[in-house]
Amino acid sequence: MRNTLLLGLRPPLTESAPGAEDPELAALAATVKEAAERALGRSLAIRHVDAGSCNGCELEIHALGNAFYDLERFGFRFVASPRHADVLLVTGPVTLNMREALQRTYDATPGPKWVVASGGCAADGGVFAGSYAIAGGVSSVVPVDLVIPGCPPSPAALLRGLLALMTGGSK
């Protein structure tokens, strides 16, 4: 059993299997790595903030950490405090009940910092647009550097978005 368990985590799963199953992802992974290293020297700390999501985005952000996507090999990592973060990855249409918490999280993040709005709700309120209870998109509360569309964005789309941020973003 021990062998099965340990072998299951070794290559080819982590490195080759995603490539074999998804060539686009493998190519993307290579570019993200290069771009992230160039911009940030192998380290980009991401703080996730749920500002009213249905939890769909969170599930896919979680998936970035699994053995297929293994985000940390590119130097991206999720951190527990905005004080440690370079990037705020924000989901949800920004409910009015979360607006102050999002603002305070943004204020607590040291510069230079980037804000990524993940998903259709974070872009413009999505299917919840027009509700009395939402601010309507992350950019209505804090400045947004990048929007990753999708409902929810797939892990590959999230990787692609982070790549775009790295290649385009210099502060």
Partner: protein, 488 residues
């Protein structure tokens, strides 16, 4: 289960009698919600029969159910926030969903403008020498939903936990009002993203029952397949995440692989990793090809070969069991009183599963085991999940075998007049109750969706009592309540 509503006449005596039944343990609260000018309540009696009662709120008030039956507390407070009703004799008059940050009060009743200045929220007290408070949230340390936890601790031990939720309130109930059925389905699918299939089915079945139509047999089979894929994907995630909160990353890594393979299978078979918007009123939006069916079969074979060694790993790792056995015990009597559904209830001996006990297709023609444990601890909740994965794999294989041909979507009849109905659907987290009332133009007049977590969250407060603060993540993850599903 879904059926036409036969409502008792709005009458204070019936309402109070229903509350008495709940308090006496002779019925289980299914939901409590506001509607135009009245409060409504659904109960399930010991016989399995549903009972619906209403209280007319002519002067804006109704007799509090929470005053005699605590599980009604948050549902009642939420309804009061949304409709502006007053619950007479209620012990807890604090607002629940309304934090004072909206531009109005009572968005579903008679709206009153509000300046958006946040309300104070006095937490319940715990007093004693050396007690201290630990405020946590709404922004949490992990990649999870927002909510506030207020701990009172004596040294390491939790003396009291109180939750404050409502942070992700998006106003779903009001967005539903006046929505057409397509838009209603899209909103229902986004009440709680991890249960998008279950909510899709709940909304669709309530609508279908109201209109008096039935989805085609093939649609039932496909809904069942999607629901079971959703269940195992979430169970893999939860089993791994609980172990990860005990710093046992190996289980988390392997469960993450199984979850990812399940999501990829869902994408290949139904076109979306979470199967969002795949269920629609009248049937399903996407048909399954023979290649799609084969991917699902391959997934089942894969899980059958790999999952047992993970279960063995869990069972044989004493240091991990040391964290889960005896931790966060939920008392069986509390579980029964709250009528708590899902894994949380079944790990504390509450033998209820809507798929079996309020059967709906395709489960009404299938036999399966409902795993039960009695210890009520984190370990029991893990084992119920493990055993449910096994049952789901059997169900998936049987559903594939029995999948009939034919259309996957029925035409929706226009209603002859205003109509309403309800459905009870077993999501991975527990039973989802859906009530839909349609106006005579066929648009949604009222839609109330009650997540299983409404009755689970309060019990987490009970289960953590006396445990050490460091075990809270384990307890919390083993419950895995939904924030968005309750905040709406």
């Amino acid at each position: 289960m879904s059926a036409s509503l036969r409502l008792s006449p709005a009458n204070g005596a019936e309402w109070r009698e229903a509350a008495r039944l709940l308090a006496a343990g002779e019925a289980t609260l299914m939901s409590l919600w506001g509607d135009e000018g009245r409060m409504r309540m659904a109960l399930r009696q010991a016989s399995g029969a549903f009972l619906f009662v209403e209280a007319a709120c002519e002067d804006g008030s109704f007799p509090s159910v929470a005053a005699v039956h605590a599980p009604a507390d948050r549902l009642e407070r939420a309804a009061c926030d949304l409709f502006g009703f007053t619950a007479l004799e209620a012990a807890d008059k604090r607002r629940w969903l309304d934090h004072g940050r909206w531009p109005l009060r009572h968005p579903l009743g008679q709206p009153v403008p509000h300046d958006g200045a946040p309300d104070a929220y006095p937490f319940l007290k715990a007093e004693g020498e050396g007690l201290h408070q630990i405020p946590v949230g709404p922004v949490h340390a992990g990649i999870i939903e927002p909510g506030h936890f207020r701990f009172h601790a004596g040294g390491e031990a939790v003396v009291r936990l109180e939750e404050r939720l409502g942070y992700v309130h998006k106003g779903v109930d009001r967005l539903m009002r006046g929505a057409n059925l397509e838009r209603g389905g899209v909103l229902a699918a986004r009440v709680s993203g991890d249960s998008t299939v279950a909510y899709g089915v709940a909304f669709a079945r309530a609508v279908e029952a109201a209109l008096g139509i039935e989805a085609p047999p093939r649609a039932h089979g496909l809904r069942g397949l999607m629901a079971e894929l959703e269940r195992i994907a979430n169970h893999f995630g939860d089993i791994g995440a609980v172990c990860n909160d005990a710093a046992f990353a190996l289980m988390h890594a392997h469960c993450g692989i199984l979850r990812e393979r399940t999501l990829r299978t869902a994408k290949a078979a139904f076109g979306h990793r979470l199967m969002m918007d795949a269920v629609v009123p009248g049937g399903v939006a996407v048909d399954l090809t023979s290649e799609g069916a084969e991917t699902i079969r391959a997934l089942v074979r894969h899980v059958r070969t790999t999952f047992p060694s993970l279960v063995q790993l869990y069972d044989n790792t004493a240091s991990l069991q040391d964290r889960t056995v005896g931790t966060g015990v939920l008392d069986a009597d509390l579980a029964r009183r709250f009528g708590v559904g899902g894994v949380v209830g079944r790990a504390s001996g509450r033998d209820f599963d809507a798929r079996r006990d309020c059967p709906y297709p395709p489960y009404d023609a299938m036999s399966f085991k409902v795993p039960i444990r009695r210890a009520g601890d984190v370990n029991a909740r893990i084992w119920v999940r493990i055993e449910e994965v096994g049952e789901s794999l059997d169900l998936i294989e049987t559903m594939l075998l029995r999948l009939s041909g034919g259309p996957v979507r029925a035409t929706l009849a226009s209603p002859g007049g205003a109509c309403e109905s309800f459905a009870l659907i077993e999501a991975f987290r527990g039973d989802v109750f859906a009530h839909v009332r349609l106006a005579d133009d066929g648009l949604v007049a009222r839609c109330h969706l009650r997540d299983a977590s409404w009755f689970q969250w309060p019990l987490l407060e009970a289960a953590i009592e006396g445990n050490i603060v460091a075990d809270f993540p384990l307890c919390n993850k083993s419950f895995n309540c939904s924030y968005s599903g309750c905040d709406l």
